[in-house]
Symmetry: C2
Subunit: 430 residues, 2 copies
């Protein structure tokens, strides 16, 4: 099929860069059309008398109709903040605020080395867009052997990629960086996609400062040989419970790691601001060499893909997030809840330190996030999950030998009972 | 790639039905994994003591953490109604409520002939899911020559389908049903996808009762020869301004039209309840022969695809919609706003009836929805749009000779001035 001229023009802007080489066929085809959405944006600026462009029924200019049965529940926000369409790339003020957040949390990133974050429909939405724009059938997507199951459906099921796993931990319980490097080098292609998810789901592990630096170094070395798309899935960012943990996203180092490495940061308020059901995520590109025009071309391709999949993301959530992010009270509130989760972590650690040797479970390294995992010894994780469910306890089994426990969701005073039951049930199955 | 056993099992359930024959390769691969999301659903039912499954940080069971800086704006809803994850298929009560709405608005549909509606991220989200699950590269997707531009990006740009257009209107201004039938029969394949969008964007046309019946009849005849997926894009449903218009969705007739025809209803509150930015749509299947198990298998495939693209849709919007849909005040509110839009329609009609012959614009048939279109005579529609923009007036140009005007968004008292400017500007370009 012939490429649309707008897609061609974006491709020309990107040509010669790692971003162009990494684009999937679908990514090469994408563009933001000069259709209704683009013409409406133009009218927003220039049509000072009448705006008869958009598919919204306004009472008058800028004041959409709203049902009182909707407005009464959010009485202090304007109708436009509640029910109007957000722009396809997201609310511009929110995008700017989030960019400042990223720069604040990742102080080594030069501001001109990242794109303006695009709003996506949740972090899954961002990952799915990455898969569409950058993953062709049979491409290699590397994830650690502890990975969020949805990666498989998303990269393999939908995009027909080959999911390649490498061991996350050495026998000693540190990151197995040698295995990672070997796995990347063994990929029989000039292109590889790597998803780094820290704090990790399911293990709850975040690299130490040394591990983070070593990982960035090895990826830069690998980029000498291969074009790398490195996706930082930072869903659980910020919930760090131990000293010595790398306190930034790996994006902090990877955004400027190597010209042949395109870093993509996938993050959002879902966990960071405790708004799981809002379905607002962000997608941000980082590179030491891409020009402002090239970052913009990538964002336009992404805008086209968003337009064709969801049109735009929930407006009310974006309006509420703007208010929360600019409120002087938010930092202290966040600190309060982080303390609560940290107390649950400490309690969990304390309980595990007293776990008997007769329990056929091996806690995996964890130091952050919501979760911890057990490897089972000689018992089936799914059988354990089922047995716990019979006792009214919900856990997650992953494969045959991993049980995930969301300690972050259990009040501190119940953790003792929860883990006692897990230990006892595991023992009874051994 | 080998199919996942869960996908195989869904395919076996569907085998022999038109739904199976219509599935795309991606659709055949899809399934809802027995992973975190499925295990969390199980725990919701059975884990009466502790639920340590889900990626939500609860203060206590069922009470997610919420920032006061979020909650204060929606003070009367519970934290769970605002920030918890909605299930991937959508809030079960909302789905049930919407199914009742569909049956109420489409009284000829036997309740057991449609699936339980699935919540999608807006109507675009529903259309995109249809494209993923049912459209392979090179499949033929038929749309009328007046079509929403996003169809092209969605079906052609993303899915590499062939978009085939047929003339919507005859010279006399009624639906060109002969052209539609001929176009379907001429498709050199056993499968065709047809998108019917009424009230139509951009023209604002809805079929008359006779036209609707004739269209359903011709599609049933075509289904003797071909497997048909007929998508009813009912975005603008309900805004009918003239007598004699078919007062239901075409889905009312198509859901039971023919065993070889799978009807898909794409609709939602976006326009029907004036909540454009909520991004909540619904996708419902209709067929005279599919079993309950087959409807469920389709929904499970869709749930898998939703899981891999957006995970789930905005919770707060779903909570607010449940309240609006169950409020006794909503019907009278809806009637009030429908009256306002109808008055704008009447005024527009009145202005057009006085339009001079020297204006190089031909109003196209319209009787419903938000829009009306002009065909330009000898002047370029984009040039006209640009000239109007210079005067502070926003309109939409479509191709070289169509100008779309959203009369529904302009207060009645300004319509005279708006159209005068359009007429004058068009004259000046002739």
């Amino acid at each position: 099929m012939k490429l649309n001229p707008l897609a061609q023009s974006l491709n020309q802007t990107l040509e010669g860069s790692v971003a162009y080489r990494l684009l999937s066929d679908l990514g090469k085809r994408m563009f933001f059309p000069r259709g209704v959405a683009a013409q409406s944006m133009e009218a927003k600026e220039k049509a000072h008398r009448f705006d008869a462009t958009v598919g919204i029924a306004n009472v008058e200019r800028g004041k959409p109709i709203i049902l009182e049965e909707i407005h009464r529940w959010v009485p202090e926000l304007s109708p436009a903040e509640i029910v109007s369409y957000a722009p396809t790339p997201g609310d511009p003020e929110l995008r700017k605020l989030w960019q400042q957040e990223i720069l604040r949390k990742n102080p080594d990133v030069p501001p001109d080395r990242i794109s303006l974050p695009m709003v996506t429909s949740g972090l899954t939405g961002a990952l799915s867009q990455v898969a569409d724009l950058f993953v062709n059938p049979h491409d290699h997507v590397l994830v650690s052997d502890f990975f969020w199951g949805n990666y498989r459906l998303l990269f393999e099921g939908r995009r027909e990629a080959r999911l390649v796993t490498y061991p996350l931990f050495t026998e000693e319980g540190s990151l197995d960086l040698e295995a990672l490097e070997r796995t990347i080098r063994d990929i029989p292609a000039k292109k590889a996609v790597l998803v780094l998810n820290f704090p990790n789901n399911p293990t709850g592990y975040t690299p130490t400062v040394d591990e983070a630096r070593a990982m960035a170094g090895l990826l830069a070395r690998c980029a000498e040989e291969k074009d790398l798309l490195v996706v930082c899935d930072d869903a659980y960012f910020g919930l760090f419970y131990e000293e010595g943990i790398y306190p930034h996203s790996l994006f902090n180092l990877l955004a400027t790691a190597h010209p042949n490495l395109l870093a993509v940061k996938v993050d959002g308020p879902t966990k960071e601001l405790y708004v799981w059901g809002f379905r607002i995520g962000f997608l941000t590109f980082g590179s030491p060499v891409l020009t402002a025009g090239q970052f913009d071309a990538l964002n336009q391709k992404l805008a086209g893909s968003l337009r064709a999949t969801v049109s735009n993301s929930n407006r009310l959530a974006q309006s509420l997030l703007k208010r929360a992010l600019t409120s002087a009270h938010t930092p202290s509130e966040l600190a309060k809840w982080a303390d609560l989760l940290k107390a649950r972590y400490r309690k969990t650690r304390q309980i595990l330190s007293r776990m008997g040797d007769d329990v056929p479970l091996v806690p995996q390294p964890f130091n952050s996030g919501y979760f911890m995992c057990f490897k089972t010894r000689g018992i089936d994780a799914e059988a354990l999950r089922q047995a716990l469910l019979e006792k009214g306890i919900g856990t997650i089994s992953l494969g045959r030998d991993v049980l995930r426990v969301t300690f972050a969701s259990i009040p501190e005073e119940h953790l003792e009972e929860l883990f006692s039951e897990i230990f006892e049930t595991a023992r009874s199955l051994a």
